[in-house]
């Protein structure tokens, strides 16, 4: 199980690092575009989530769930499905 908090923390860290922001500047309910995260960086964010949490994600997720909290929620759900499925194999 990957918690929503863990995912939110990972995404926030990525954005802080990418955009030179301080953690207190990050509002998880704000639209991701508000941090200035471009399309290249968004795709890289998806890649780093895939890598860190061993998941398979679509790059369009960032546009479908465009805030930190919504993205973390959606990924937690996918993680439950993907990791849950793998456990039965």
């Amino acid at each position: 199980m990957i918690s929503i908090d863990t995912l939110e923390a990972h995404i926030s860290r990525f954005i802080c690092n990418e955009m030179d922001l301080l953690p207190e500047d990050i509002d998880p309910d704000l639209n991701l575009g508000a941090f200035g995260l471009g399309s290249l960086a968004s795709t890289r964010l998806i890649g780093s989530l895939e890598e860190t949490f061993a998941l398979r994600l679509s790059p369009t997720m960032v546009f479908e769930h465009p805030s930190i909290s919504r993205l973390a929620e959606a990924i937690a759900q996918i993680a439950a499905e993907q990791h849950g499925g793998a456990a039965h194999v």
């Binding site: 301080l22 500047d25 639209n31 575009g33 471009g38 290249l40 890649g47 895939e50």
Partner: protein, 591 residues
């Protein structure tokens, strides 16, 4: 002339270097029909589809026949395709049938305005589209001036006749326009570079010869096909060479850069590359456990072009991948632009990357390369290779139009067989950009690149120092500051700022920082006091939404700090200087 039983390697090479690229495809479909030309990898890096030379030729001919029934020679045909193997078949079909291809990026989410302005500027009479994109394109164009454009899906490709007879068209004129490359110009005024069949052949030959490539030089490419590097280098050069090229989507690369390296290793590719950021991404995502058996020792041409080449990026990448057989000498910085079809300089093959360390002050005040002084700052620049022998590079003082000596900075002017014919239906820009003359010799015409650079006095390498105009190069794309400024001002429509200046600079870590300086007024001051976070978030979101690029720094400056020309145009260069010297008067916060 082609009435032969077979072609030997020399004949194939000479013919490929002279024929229009679609005729080279026909020749190769006849000479080695079953050799695989392209393999497409899915977003996991698994093989999704392959096409042989003959299959590609048949697909292209089949589409050309369909085009003949719905359009006339000389018509512009827009091409809307995701990365895959259908795009290039459609592109070649346009070339075969004398239609002018107009490759355009898909109008995903944003970019609709830009697509529409390209469609209108080119006067496209129809678009070939991928079936999976049809509905989305229709929605995107509904209610715009492009709503009536017929969108055609390519159909029945497999049903094409499987014969590859050699039928060169007797009346074919290689000087006619093959396609329009829309990477120049702002959103409101796109400029379509007119690239002829002869331009393409010359440019492919220049790359082949400068880099010593042949049919065994296989590629892995992820650059998008609507970009000159993806199209000319990634998808047309393979046809001239007769090689096998592995294609993947740009998003696959950006999401999982290691898939790119694994493909280079697995398919034993000799040539692969990208803009500088590609090497940063691949170094950043290094994973020893995932890359245990990675072998990069066969990668001899690691091209780096379309953006500033940074020494730090090359070093970081090499530090990571040397243990996998990657050689520092494999790096091949290169220089090119759509107005020259693509390639201008790069190589020679097998030589180490060249660099020059110069005194920063002398370079900026006297435009001259001088050895660094102990007291001053030094700047290191990477050589973008030697110019191809088929292109003449002149370094010219843009003000006096006089030639400058090696080691002196001026605008890069070019002349040669691969220089495009001009901008589509834009005589003013074509005359200014493609028919420039040097003061000493008014008879020879040059194309002005707008880039500043110099030829190394000792090594004959081309060094690129920056832009004459204010163009920003970000993530390998050309961004017009006026487009970003427009979005910023629109996002602040309620407070109506008078002006905005957007420019970029590199920070100490050689990271690109994009800055927007916005002119303050009373309303803006009030909003900045009330809710600065929302205000800035709003601006950033608008720029990302419309252009896909970040604005790192937002600064609000007093009207007295905004430098403008007498006609009221913002002086970005001056603004940038003042910003870097911290001499702008205004409000600059971290976020």
């Amino acid at each position: 002339m082609f009435d032969k039983s077979s072609f030997n390697d020399h004949e194939l090479s000479s013919a490929s270097g002279a024929l229009p690229v679609h005729e080279t495809l026909a020749l190769r479909a006849w000479a080695h029909p079953d050799k695989v030309l392209f393999t497409f990898l899915d977003d996991e890096g698994a093989k999704q589809e392959s096409l042989t030379y003959l299959q590609m030729y048949d697909n292209a001919r089949s589409i050309a026949r369909q085009l003949e029934s719905v359009s006339q020679p000389g018509d512009r045909v827009a091409l809307f395709f995701p990365q895959g193997l259908d795009f290039i078949a459609c592109f070649l079909a346009c070339l075969m049938s004398g239609r002018i291809a107009v490759p355009i990026n898909l109008p995903n989410r944003r970019r609709v305005e830009r697509c529409v302005s390209i469609l209108l500027d080119s006067g496209a009479s129809l678009a070939l589209v991928d079936a999976t994109e049809h509905a989305q394109l229709e929605r995107a164009f509904a209610g715009t001036e492009a709503a009536a454009l017929p969108l055609l899906e390519i159909a029945n490709l497999e049903a094409a006749a499987a014969t590859a007879s050699w039928e060169p068209r007797a009346e074919f004129d290689p000087q006619q326009i093959a396609f329009l490359q829309y990477t120049s110009g702002s959103t409101s005024a796109p400029k379509g570079v007119m690239v002829s069949h002869a331009n393409i052949t010359a440019n492919l030959r220049m790359m082949r010869d400068a880099w010593e490539l042949d049919a065994r030089s296989d590629f892995v490419t992820w650059q998008p096909h609507h970009h000159d590097m993806g199209l000319i280098l990634g998808q047309l050069l393979p046809i001239m060479l007769g090689n096998h090229t592995v294609v993947m989507a740009p998003s696959t690369f950006v999401r999982q850069p290691l898939i790119w390296l694994q493909a280079i290793s697995r398919y034993k590719a000799r040539l692969a590359g990208g803009p500088n950021f590609a090497y940063d991404l691949a170094a950043e995502r290094y994973s020893a456990e995932r890359l245990g058996d990675l072998d990069l020792s066969g990668w001899t041409h690691a091209l780096n072009g379309a953006d500033v080449v940074r020494a730090g990026s090359l070093k970081r990448f090499h530090d990571r991948y040397a243990r996998h057989g990657f050689s520092m000498d494999a790096f091949m910085p290169c220089y090119g632009l759509a107005e020259a079809t693509l390639f201008v300089s790069g190589g020679p093959y097998r030589l180490p990357v060249h660099s020059v360390t110069a005194d920063q002050a002398t370079l900026s005040s006297e435009q001259r390369v001088a050895p660094p002084r102990e007291s001053g700052n030094a700047v290191t620049m990477i050589g973008c290779g030697e110019p191809s022998w088929e292109v003449e590079v002149a370094i010219v003082d843009p003000a006096t139009r006089q030639r400058r000596a090696p080691g002196t900075v001026g605008e890069i002017w070019l002349r040669g067989a691969s220089i495009a014919r001009g901008y589509w239906r834009n005589d003013a820009a074509s005359v200014a950009g493609f028919h420039a003359t040097i003061a000493e010799d008014p008879r020879r015409e040059y194309m002005r690149t707008g880039d500043l650079g110099f030829i190394g006095a000792e090594d004959r390498q081309l060094y690129v120092c920056g832009r004459l105009k204010d163009l920003i190069i970000c993530e390998g794309r050309n961004i017009h500051p006026e487009d970003i400024e427009h979005s910023v001002i629109e996002a602040l429509a309620e407070t109506r700022p008078q002006s905005c200046a957007v420019f970029s600079h590199d920070d100490e870590q050689q990271r690109q920082i994009i800055v927007a300086v916005i002119e303050l007024n009373r309303e803006l001051k009030r909003l900045l006091t009330d809710n600065p976070r929302a205000l800035k978030a709003n601006i950033r979101a608008a720029v990302v939404d419309q252009h896909g690029i970040p604005v790192h720094r937002l600064m609000f400056a007093q009207p007295t700090s905004m430098h403008k020309t007498t006609s009221g145009k913002i002086q970005r260069r001056k603004m940038r200087e003042l910003y870097l010297a911290a001499e702008l008067d205004g409000i600059d916060e971290a976020i």
